[in-house]
Symmetry: C2
DNA sequence: AACAAACCGGAAAGCCCGATCCGTTTCCTG
DNA sequence: CAGGAAACGGATCGGGCTTTCCGGTTTGTT
């Protein structure tokens, strides 16, 4: 991924994703890059509830500069996590390429959860939807579609319980986010144990009945609501 | 202690739990009850991040009245959840009385998680520690001790995996809190499925190795930090 | 070199929060 | 029933947050 490309119009550097705007002034483009890098650091460390002011401090720019480039916090979030979402979608493709369906399935789950652990902002993202950021949601949908295939393959191989559904991944991501947010850096590896418990439970054979999973629509509604409250301060806050 | 004062109010209603104070005026006692009842409602619905103002509104009293009875929000929380903590500790005792160790073990886990689901404030509490509220922490420690016995019995019966530890319950409580906070009332039963997956995984025989659980000290540190950030505003807020 | 447009950054507006102050009301007692 | 202490409650403080405004600075061009 060629970041800091010298030629201004190679990829769209317009103020907003609609690339149509006039070329940016050099200082503007430089600051835009600094802001995104700073936001990546701060969101990764503190989660999406980190303040715009802390991002500005990290970037060494004024608060207004951030809001000029990203009129709302949600847009900065979308810009910062575009590549993470790509990595997320790509992880699906790689997992599908794994000759062992069960390895692919479990490896994918562990990788996604590891991404949550490595990036607190990403963890928050996975439990939210951003109807306003289409590219982000398109990537999410693409990854979700790939995960459906992963499930089919793993079930066909007989190693994944038949009653597993894609909503169980969402559930696990929410649960993992809860562990990560509660433990913070006090127990940075605790999440691995949760994921291991869950994966062993997903493995065939069926060991007992399960309550019905939530409806897709209900989960979507929950994620939509979460993103609405993003501007409000957030859950666990340390430091 | 000898009550020399007119004992129209037989039960000691001292301002703070240390009961030593002079008898309260009738309106003060009435308001104190209203405040606790209102806080129970509001915290249960919105979680511990609910504002003191909203509790005051629900109770029909002024904001100052709340702070006169409970000089800090943490004290109100402790007062409100004293009985929930008792129920929590008592659930341990009842589970221990179950003749089937596995039933007792799983029933206890399901009941505690159900308590989290039924009371958003309780869910928050279970991932925090309040070093300033000794009675609360004493009850928590008592329940924890009982849970250790439950584990022993379930392991002795051969139905609980040998590598299960008490820290796995903490992990599950944090995970459950994550699901509850993410789903909210959009998918109010989603948590049941998470708990079912976990319980089935806890059941013997061992199906594979697990990463080491976090240290007790690390989990305590995590819970201690969480309670510090309680005063800060919190996650999704609707209404 | 010089000018206009674009851009910057700090200060301020408006909104929440927990916590406090102080004039007013209520209760208990003598 | 009257006086004083105790309790009440709304306004207010101090702080954090997102977002906006505006005077000063940088940039690119002529």
């Amino acid at each position: 991924m060629g970041m800091t490309s010298r030629d201004q119009n190679a990829h769209d550097t317009g103020g907003t994703p609609d690339s149509a705007g006039p070329p940016m002034r050099s200082d503007a483009e430089r600051n835009r890059g600094r802001i995104i890098a700073a936001a990546r650091t701060v969101f990764g460390r503190d989660g999406l509830h980190a303040s715009m002011a802390s991002v500005a401090r990290e970037a060494g720019v004024g608060i207004a500069t951030i809001f000029r480039h990203f009129p709302a916090k949600e847009e900065l979030v979308a810009a910062v996590f575009a590549d993470r979402m790509e990595a997320y979608a790509q992880a699906t493709a790689e997992a599908l390429a794994n000759p062992d369906p069960w390895d692919g399935f479990t490896g994918y789950i562990q990788e996604v959860c590891a991404m949550q652990a490595a990036d607190r902002g990403f963890a928050d993202m996975m439990t939210m939807s951003f109807p306003g950021a289409q590219p982000l949601e398109a990537l999410r949908a693409q990854a979700y579609q790939g995960f459906l295939e992963l499930i089919d393959h793993a079930k066909d191989s007989g190693q994944l319980r038949e009653d597993f559904t894609s909503r169980d991944l969402v559930l696990l991501l929410m649960a993992n986010a809860g562990v990560l947010s509660a433990t913070g850096d006090a127990a940075p590896d605790a999440w691995r144990r949760l994921v291991a418990w869950m994966i062993q439970s997903f493995q065939a054979p069926v060991r007992g009945p399960l309550p019905e999973p939530p409806e897709d629509a209900a989960l979507y509604e929950a994620m939509r609501r979460a993103s609405h409250g993003m501007n409000s301060p957030a859950t666990g806050k340390q430091h």
